[in-house]
């Protein structure tokens, strides 16, 4: 900590820890540009595509994403037509991309009836590069034989199944209508259908969740032969806090959540879900580079991510943007022949390395090679003082060609990420709406 720059970085980090920095997304100028340019998405090369399908059968207590509850097949059909219209509006700007990762997220895109899923898929099919990875998020109830066959026929190679927990009491608490007996048949059907890249989402740090319950859920997933597991810490933000509060359910102490993560890290690594990076939510038996599926590897490579659908957000070469979160506003824009963009911000080139670092820290590490490939300089040229300060404080460690969080750093990953926000952006107060 000898140099003033390193010392200043260390002080900034300590301050962020004290104030409980919450770094969900990169800051933006407070004032969005007025009106989205029609070529908002313009760019080219390898990229990922995100399609938001908001429909769900029930509202889960922990969820803060953009969802629509209680809509039937005809409304889903209208939504597919709206996305198709959005695609037509963006067609020229998207023509130069090669989408090697396509992600149907939600909501519950798995709820789409097979015919509607095929229609949605056919809208984007011309944009998809050969051999692309295609992911569908689903709920166990929706993973029936008809839908699975439709996903397979469309070339879906990865399914992400929302399980969250196998504890019936907790399933009731979070208002999941997938009772335990539905989870395992769904996993079996997906594995039998040949989804070698099946992921299961789990939640830890739920109110009233015991270590025994968490360990049992992990064990059940291992025993079921699930190839990949994403272990997410329950987010207590105003929307979810209010939903839990009605049950008198309060967030567990941070140390409880941290102990649950530590348990997952140990149990899953012991079971062959190779993840050496402490703090990462991704555990997989798949031989992924960096232990990350292709969608997440696009983040590492700083590639554009084009988001379509209500509530989706994206990063094109020139802009970061978020689509309308309200269906009516989304529909009105489409009907008027405008891109359904709620907020769009030009992203200066100088900010892109900083945004990359903030977003990549969410994966619990910073790899040097992808940074250098994307930005043409070693990571230390731009972030030398920050990295040195965190190394000196024991928050990160260098392993081979990457920096990783230590268990200490994993206790406050947002403060670590916050350190990499540029001095310019630090004064910005705008934020992309949380949602997609």
């Amino acid at each position: 900590m000898n140099s003033p720059a390193i010392r200043a970085a260390g002080e900034r980090f300590e301050a962020a820890c004290r104030t409980g920095a919450s770094r969900h997304s990169y800051p933006l100028p407070a004032e969005p540009v007025s009106g989205a340019p029609q070529d908002l998405h313009a760019g080219g090369g390898e990229a990922s595509l995100y399609l938001h399908v908001p429909f769900c059968s029930v509202r889960c207590t922990y969820c803060f994403f953009v969802t629509q509850i209680g809509h039937g097949a005809d409304d889903m059909g209208r939504y597919v037509a709206e996305i198709e219209a959005e695609l037509r509006l963006a067609r020229e700007a998207l023509a130069g991309y090669r989408f090697t990762s396509v992600y149907f997220g939600g909501g519950t895109p798995g709820l789409l009836p097979p015919a509607l899923f095929r229609m949605l898929f056919e809208c984007v099919a011309p944009l998809i590069a050969p051999g692309a990875s295609i992911t569908v998020e689903t709920h166990p109830h929706a993973a029936d034989a008809h839908r699975i066959a439709a996903w397979r026929a469309c070339g879906v190679d990865r399914v992400s199944l929302g399980v969250q927990t196998t504890d019936p009491t907790l399933l009731g608490l979070i208002n999941r209508d997938n009772t335990e007996p539905h989870i395992f048949p769904a996993i079996a059907r997906l594995l039998d259908a040949g989804f070698e890249d099946l992921n299961v989402d789990l939640l830890y740090g739920l109110p009233d969740q015991s270590m025994a319950s968490w360990t049992e859920t992990l064990g059940a997933m291992i025993a079921a032969g699930v190839p990949s597991i994403s272990a997410y810490r329950t987010a207590f933000i105003p929307q979810t806090r209010a939903a839990f509060k009605g049950l008198g359910a309060t967030p567990p102490p941070g140390s409880v959540s941290q102990a649950m993560y530590a348990q997952a890290f140990e149990v899953l690594n012991d079971a062959g879900y190779d993840q050496p990076r402490y703090g990462s939510s991704c555990f997989s038996r798949q031989p992924y580079p960096y232990g990350l599926n292709r969608h997440r590897r696009h983040v590492l490579a700083a590639r554009p991510m084009i988001g379509l659908g209500m509530g989706a957000y994206g990063t094109a070469p020139g802009y970061t943007y978020a689509n309308h979160r309200e269906r009516a506003a989304y529909q009105q824009a489409i009907a008027a022949g405008r891109l359904p963009v709620m907020v769009a911000q030009p992203l200066p080139a100088a900010e892109r390395p900083h945004k990359w670092a903030v977003e990549t820290w969410k994966l619990a590490f910073l790899p040097r090679a992808p940074y250098e490939a994307a930005f043409g300089e070693p990571l230390e040229v731009r972030f030398g003082p920050e990295l040195a300060a965190l190394l000196a404080l024991g928050e990160i460690v260098r392993v081979d060609d990457e920096y990783r969080l230590t268990p200490a750093g994993a206790q406050h990953p947002d403060a670590v990420a916050d350190l990499f926000v540029s001095p310019t952006a630090r004064s910005w107060t705008g934020r992309m709406a949380q949602g997609a």
Binding site: F55, S57, V58, R59, C60, T61, I69, G70, H71, G72, A73, D74, D75, M76, L111, P113, H141, T169, G172, L173, I174, N175, D177, H182, A242, A243, K245, G246, L247, G248
Partner: protein
């Protein structure tokens, strides 16, 4: 280990602290998803019940299994996830609620505002109360909006819905939702118990339509929160729920939390002194 519905109900009633049982009806609701086996205790119906009537019969000790074929109210069949909201075919067979209509309504007629807005839509064949019936809402747009904003289980994914009483021999049935029918006097005590632990306001969203199916069953199920209702015309006229009763629907976890609140706050709220 959670108490059974029977045991939780017993504690709830005891916590009122009065010698005679309060005028509270509690009925458990269990959804049967497509492909699932219904609980063996549930009895298929020989004729259609409206959902509000099925709940009332459950309060008397029956365990009715209400399906697409035997749900007497089309709106309830939509709200409970038994039929698709955009089904263009009228549901076959006898349906108490729509017998007064000269044309049997299809689910899509509700969605498109033709049933609740029959007069404005020029569809008096869908009127419930004869030639002068203005419909439930003044315009087709209001009817569509009312339908669109009703909590409901869609896409339809249920084979059946079971209503059952809090009896000891049904202890292995864990409700998804608990429906309470109670007087204002008991309602205030129950809301006090529900909010005792958290101070969280009890919010009620109701429309005078779909009281049991939408307000008291689908709403707590899909939103994961309690809801209240003053019931609806079907509940009052067909199922004959007493005029002094209103309803609260609670997800099972909230019911258990409310019972804990009843017990914990019993000595602070002198229910026995609330005027009957």
């Amino acid at each position: 280990m959670d108490p059974t519905f029977h045991e939780a109900y017993r504690r709830y009633m005891a916590a009122f602290g009065v010698p005679e049982l309060p005028d509270v009806t509690a009925v458990g609701v269990k959804f049967v998803r497509r492909g699932e086996a219904p609980p063996p205790q549930a009895a298929p119906l020989e004729m259609a019940y409206t959902w509000c009537y099925a709940v009332k019969q459950a309060a008397k000790g029956e365990v009715p299994l209400v399906t697409r074929e035997t749900c007497g109210c089309v709106m309830a069949a939509i709200a409970l996830g038994l039929v698709a909201e955009d089904d263009p075919e009228p549901l076959p067979g006898f349906r108490q609620y729509s017998q007064n209509m000269t044309t049997p309504p299809a689910p899509i007629d509700y969605k498109e505002g033709r049933v609740f807005g029959c007069a404005a839509a020029g569809r008096m064949d869908l009127a419930l109360y004869g030639a002068d019936d203005p419909g439930r809402f003044a315009t087709v747009e209001a009817s569509r909006r009312a339908f669109a904003e009703m909590p409901k289980i869609q896409p339809a994914c249920m084979d059946a819905v079971v209503a059952f009483p809090p009896e000891a021999e049904l202890a292995d049935l864990v409700p998804d939702v608990v429906i309470l029918a109670l007087t204002p006097r008991e309602t205030v005590r129950t809301v006090q118990a529900l909010t005792f632990a958290t101070g969280e306001r009890f919010e009620m969203s109701t429309l005078g339509v779909g009281g049991f199916s939408v307000d008291l069953t689908a709403a707590p199920y899909v939103n994961g929160r309690p809801n209240g209702s003053f019931m609806c015309v079907g509940a009052r006229v067909i199922a004959r729920w007493d005029g002094n009763l209103n309803g609260i629907g609670l997800p099972w976890r909230h019911f258990l939390a409310m019972v804990e609140g009843m017990q914990a706050s019993a000595k602070g709220y002198p229910f026995a002194r609330y005027p009957a």
